[in-house]
């Protein structure tokens, strides 16, 4: 491993610096994020938790460049996202950032395989077949590739979404309540596979969730309230996180 690679391995992949986000104007202004500073390491599975209105989704939107900041910076591998234009941000999302959401991840008129390969189609690039095979095997969806989303279960859909998020080998994957619409069994599946992506495939995942059980699968849990990070918990457990959340809500 050379010096650059070494540096890449150790430096944070995403960093928020004095991040502020305000919605609306004047009297009806809402401060969603209030001077947030946090950084995320490569190869980690991090969860961001908090009650509704805590600003966790907003933080994710800003970190991924989906929304613009009011003040502050987002450094993505050293690159300041707040200085980039729409075209560059789009390219970033295409190649270096992956997304998984709670709902509506897949394009209903395409098959699972087409959905997975979509980011590459947009770029006009040919897929890495070996990587594709590895992904679908790991995620256990190899047999469902020719089906449309309507023919897949919730859990299967999410797994296809994860595969899509990973097909370009992105630097980081953002997951917004990925298990929110799933039952316990499917949730377990999805979380398991996300865990394996991090452990076996060396991916970086940042997950926003309100579910303490989901957070238990992660390496690090951040608790947010009222636009600020309250606590930073390493190796979280379900009970620990539940306590945290209850305290915060009081």
């Amino acid at each position: 491993m050379n010096a650059e690679q070494a540096m890449q391995q150790t430096s944070p992949v995403i960093e928020a610096v004095n991040l502020c986000k305000t919605y609306g104007e004047g009297e009806s202004a809402v401060q969603a994020l209030n001077n947030v500073n946090v950084s995320f390491e490569r190869g980690q599975f991090t969860s961001i938790m908090g009650p509704s209105g805590s600003g966790k989704s907003t933080l994710m939107h800003l970190l991924s460049g989906l929304d613009s900041v009011t003040s502050g910076h987002v450094l993505f591998r050293g690159l300041d996202l707040t200085q980039l234009n729409d075209v560059s941000l789009t390219l970033l999302r295409r190649q270096q950032i992956g997304f998984v959401f709670q709902n509506f991840n897949l394009l209903p008129m395409f098959t699972a395989e087409q959905n997975i390969l979509m980011p590459l189609s947009l770029a006009g690039k040919k897929p890495d077949r070996d990587w594709f095979q590895l992904l679908v095997k790991t995620l256990g969806i190899a047999s469902r590739l020719s089906h449309r989303p309507a023919e897949l279960s919730g859990g299967q859909q999410q797994r296809v979404a994860i595969a899509r998020a990973l097909i370009t080998k992105p630097d980081v994957v953002f997951a917004d309540e990925p298990t929110g619409a799933l039952d316990t069994a499917s949730s377990r599946e999805v979380l398991n596979f996300m865990r394996r992506s991090v452990d076996e495939l060396g991916r970086t995942i940042i997950m926003v969730t309100h579910d303490a059980n989901a957070a238990a699968w992660t390496d690090r849990a951040l608790v947010m309230v009222d636009g600020q990070i309250l606590t930073d918990v390493p190796r979280p457990t379900a009970e620990l996180m539940n306590d945290q959340l209850t305290t915060v809500r009081r």
């Binding site: 989906l66 729409d86 959401f101 394009l107 980011p119 189609s121």
Partner: protein, 903 residues
Amino acid sequence: MHHLTLPMMKHNLRKLIPAGIAVLIGTMFITCTLIFSDAFSQAMIIRNTLSFASSNWQLTIPKQQTNDAEVSLHAVRDYKLDQLNRIAKTQSVAIDGIRVDSVNQIRIQQGDEGYTEIAIPTATRSSMVPLDIVEGHQPTEPGQIAIPKSTADSMKLHIGDRVRTTAKSELDASELDTPEQDVSEQQHSETDQPQDSVATLIEEPLTIVGLTHEPKGSYIYGGAALVTPATFAKFMGLPSFNDVPCSSVFVQMSGSEEAQQQVAEQVQKQLGLTLQSRSEVASQILKNQSGENDAIKMSLLSFGVLSLFVAALVIGNTFQVLVAQRRRTFALLRIIGAQSRQLYFQVVLESALLGLASSVLGVACGIGAMALAISAHVFGTSMTMHVVITTSTLITPIVFGVLATIVASLSAARMATHVTPLEALQPLDLVEHTQRQRVRTVFGTIVLLAGVSLAIWAAQYWKTAENSTWLLAAITGCVLTFSGVGITAHFWIPQLLRLIGKGVSKIGPSAKLAVANIAKNPRRITATGLALLIGVTLISTIGTGAACAKQTMNTKLNTKYSVDISVSGIPNDQAASLKQRLHKEPGIQSVLAAPTAQVKVTDNVPEAMKKTPHGTDLLVMGIPNLQSLKSVLNVTVPPMHWDADQILLSQLLPASGARIQYQPQLTIREYQHADSSDPSEPALTVDTHVLNFRNIVDTGDTVAFVDASLFDQQVLHAQSTTMLIRTDTTAQQSESEIVHTVSNAVPDIPQVSIVAPVVEKEKWNTTVNQVLLLFVVLLAVAVIIALIGVANTLSLSVIERTRETATLRAIGMTRQQVRRSIGIEALLTTVVSSLVGLMLGTGFGSLGVAMVLGPVVHEFTFTIDWVGDAVILGIAIAAALIASISPAQIANRVSPVEALAVE
């Protein structure tokens, strides 16, 4: 990214199909227009060169500086045919045949029965005669005649029969434009009256040697008779055939192209005559005819362009709604890395593919439709038309169709680029950008004002002959106006509805809900309202256009052909019995026998009469009462006081067409002779009334009506009786047959002449009806487009409604109330859009007809088809209510829980 396009299109196919149909109709229409125009031109050429038969050249004498509208008639000798022969020989061109183009009226009689026929002289080569010989042969010697088969059948004549043939030689010397005056056996008056007082009848017994048939209808009375040149000259009372007046001479030449061309040039140089080939004549005719043809072609093409415009509006609307619906898909694509540019291209590509497919289908349908129409003789049997397809017929509609579709989708495509990735993560509420709306409103208002001013400005020139540019300007004005209305629709439709809603919401909870829904969903309401507006405006434009066109043509025809048939010069003693005989004939509705006298206006003479030679001459006819005049006059006689002191005068001076200004009274006197300065009777002063009637007689006299009592009391003395006849339009006989009947009943005296403008009027009426048929077809097309547009937007609104309705049902609204609320919403939107559409349509339709008919008929009658408008409104409302049932049902069917679940 293009491989994404097809699956996305397939997914949306159901929604794209209606838009595709709209484009199909538009391109189909343009194709039909192009084919029709080409076929029509071709048919016109064929028809107009029928008189050529096998000839390939036509010799004419160029018009000198005369003011005559008629071609002045030259005698055969003026065509210097021997010199033509000489010139041809020098170029080694052979003259294979000569046909003199001259016509005369003859009467064929057998016992009591007589038929009036057109007679033409034979040619030196029988194939040059534009008649088929179905039996026997053409006359080859004097004493022979070939008559039309239809006449032979009616009179039960056969080949070999001998018939008495008569002709009038009423030739006025002034009709001949030759230095040598021909003296026929008639009295000449020094002052050169337009009407001769005496004429001779030339009689000749002829043997029928052949039967003719003229299937293409170049001559009236259904065919012509053939006689030898010698007989022809005799019938004209002329010493030789060389003296016969003719309008042209047809020549059949053979030889090389260049040699024939040389002959033509030499003829021009040496003889000062014009020798034109068949194709030259054809193109000249086309140019002269182009006035009429152009009007039809321009109006059809304008409709084609208009229908494409409408299709473009429907497509624009469809794509806007489609893009709005696809926002989440687009947002998702943006999240996973699609550039806005790629989305824009995606939408444009989709619309281009749709446009291409629909246009190609449209062209195919257009060709098929025209082939069907032509083979079914929809355009009448007077001309044989064939489907003419050129490359431009195929390419032009497709190009226009694709362009229209792409342009229509551009605004929707731009909308797609404004989708932010975040929208994929947000619930299904569409964000309105008020700032952009304001810009749109301003832009739209500017366009609207520009359009209105352009239309008004162009409308001033509606009578101008050179008006295809004004027509285009008027159409552009209307298009801009409507575009402006459409662009600003998002502003005025919800506003209007809000205003009306204030009153309506007092009706009940469902109404209140409907009004609230309207206020909450301006975008959806605008889309529906706009679709309705497009449809209703289109239908109303065409409906108004048709009504105005029909009314205008009727007024024009009735004014120009004020009387169906008139027979003048009937001896007074025979008048009563003739009237009785005519009444018995089927096909004759009313007869007015008017004693006629020639008078002069001696006091209060109008200026126009003073300026024209013999302008003060007046032909007065006695009518028993106004009712009897109304029963035969096609022009509406306004109510007026009528007695022996009244006179009804014609508005225009027939000789010059000048409008006559009459004083409230004038004085008339009878004269013994035309130029006698002593009046034979005391003067008669009468009160004047004016009416615009024309063509009562064909002699060019100014006609006036007085009370018949003047004749009864011998104040005026009738020189003859004029019979004014109205035909029965419901009769089975054709107008020509009725005219035949009249000419049979009429005594065989030289002074009697029959004028039958009704036959001309019939021809015009047929043309008008054919054009109106076209309007009906257009109407059907418009209805289809309207329904497509409405169905589209209504169905698209169902999905949005599901959530809303579910929420309301969850909090306690009954199914009945939901249905009613949706119904009221549909009703309100429909009524507002329809009313605005009707107003716009009436304006556009009348302007369009005025611009198209104006230069051709110089008249325009504005009518509002109240019944039609009411029907449109009624149907629109019914359609809206019916169309609202389906969304209501769907909305009611889904359980609230399902609908409210987050996707």
